[in-house]
Amino acid sequence: MATVTYAKATRVYPGAKTPAVDALDLEIGDGEFLVLVGPSGCGKSTSLRMLAGLEDVNSGNIFINQNDVTHLPPKARDIAMVFQNYALYPHMSVYDNMAFALKLRKTPKSEIEARVKEAAKMLQLEEYLSRKPKALSGGQRQRVAMGRAIVRHPQVFLMDEPLSNLDAKLRVQTRSQIATMQAKLGVTTVYVTHDQVEAMTMGHRVAVLLDGHLQQVDTPRALYDRPANVFVAGFMGSPAMNIKTVGLTDQGAKFVDMLLPLTRDQVAAAQADGGNGRVTIGFRPEDTEIVGGLDKGMPITVDLVEELGSDAFVYGTVALEGQDERFTVRADPRKVPQLGEVVHVRPRPDSHHAFNAATGLRLG
């Protein structure tokens, strides 16, 4: 049971000009499942490896339970990690893989056996205990890697994209297993992924990183409903939010004939910080409807329809200020428009998000 705190933790790789992780401030509560998410190269894995002790911290500190672990070696931190490629010991059986850390700690043999058996049962690995990793399937290897972490009873679990080597179906299945297991064990967990669906479904809270900077950390619901900036807005949600920068009027933002209203405060904030008469507006495909032409929607020419059974997504273009812009709209799967058809679309009232055009920060 432990809390984890990053205090201005910074990592600069030798020879690099900009930090891979820049003054990360993050508090993770006891028993919390925190997901670090972001595109590749955003510093999420580096942040995790700094906590593991596999990466130097150039400035700032990292605490586990108020203990400064910034410069402690990995073995002194009482943490367990699941690697993306599992990193099983190839010359050891499944049992020995899981027992290795306990043997190093001189745990009594009977207790090692009890703990390994318990973890093996939880992960349905009992019949494979005597096998070598190479005789296991990908999913089984992934579970051995999990088991190796579980038997340790560590203060913190670290997971570095543990599902990315599984096929799609197994990934969804394992995703829920990991979340269930974490809830049952109640061990503080830091989980790295580039997949926003994993982040949304697994995390109690999600921290979004870009270029080594923390963009926002909040519950999945809050990230989805109130993204703090344009990057978070575009990163969370699939298909991605429609985000366009358009001219600003006193009442709001103009999309052809469609006016999306903004409050007076929002307009004022949009003008500040070099907004220069422009505003960035985002609305999600699932918040957008196809409306009759009289409802002042925006006319788009349909160029692609994706039918998923439960949903249909309509992609269409419209000329905005002389440039062709593409929009995505969720449509009733039983009533999809034809290719080439012109339909009017409009976000539901008050469902659009507004951001400063220069800073990208949320307005109001």
Binding site: L54, P74, A80, A87, P90, F100, K134
Partner: protein
Amino acid sequence: MRISRGLAHAAMLAWGVVTALPLLWAVLSSFKSDHEILTAPWSIPQHPQWTNWSRAWNEADIGRYFLNSAIVVGGALVLTMLLGALVAYALARYEFPGNRLVYHTFVAAMFFPVFLALVPLFFVVKQLHLLDTYAGLILVYAAYAVPFTVFFLHAFFRTLPSSIAEAAFLDGCGHGAVFFRIMLPMARPGLVAVGIFNFLGLWNQYLLPLVLNSDPDRYVLAQGLAALSVSQGYRSDWSGLFAGLTIAMIPVLVAYVAFQRHIRAGMTTGAVR
């Protein structure tokens, strides 16, 4: 496609015959009488002469030379593999100033002609009072074999996934435990391959013992065989010589056959995806 494969097979077959026939001929000759060797060199032995082997082993002192070789090569091999693996691992997996310099020094040493080193080497060993000793020969053999071992294992350690070492650090290993308990076992195919190579090279070593090891009691096999063929002059014991030759070949063949499976085995399969 089929023609080129046929050509390749023919070439390999020819190579195999060229390599295997002299060996086979030596083995067959070791069972013949001297008369038979000279009159019917290509025939199968009519009456296998087992006494050739016992004569070589006992009277020609091949037994003692064999023991000397085993001690010297065995000691040198253990030393070479231990030092070579440690150096290669440190160079392959740790960044430190001078890393490349040390590595390139080893590579350069690999290409240094041993002939040029013979005279200074003789005096170094003499100053250390290690001439005509097992220890002297073991040390020189190890120094001779370490550069190639480092070169070979360095490449091998580089290919091992670093995440496995990291997992071991997190599991509670120090640097030593990571090396001996995780990385060294994973490097086994490489260790076996370079070990066999070193064994072959050192077992057949002639030049170094010729210079550094002049006491007939401590002759290694190559020296012993040479002495046997030279000293007998016209009073030749050809069958005994072939028997000695075959005895000298056996350990090499046995080592190769026993370990060839390990050379090919990919130990890292299954560690990572």
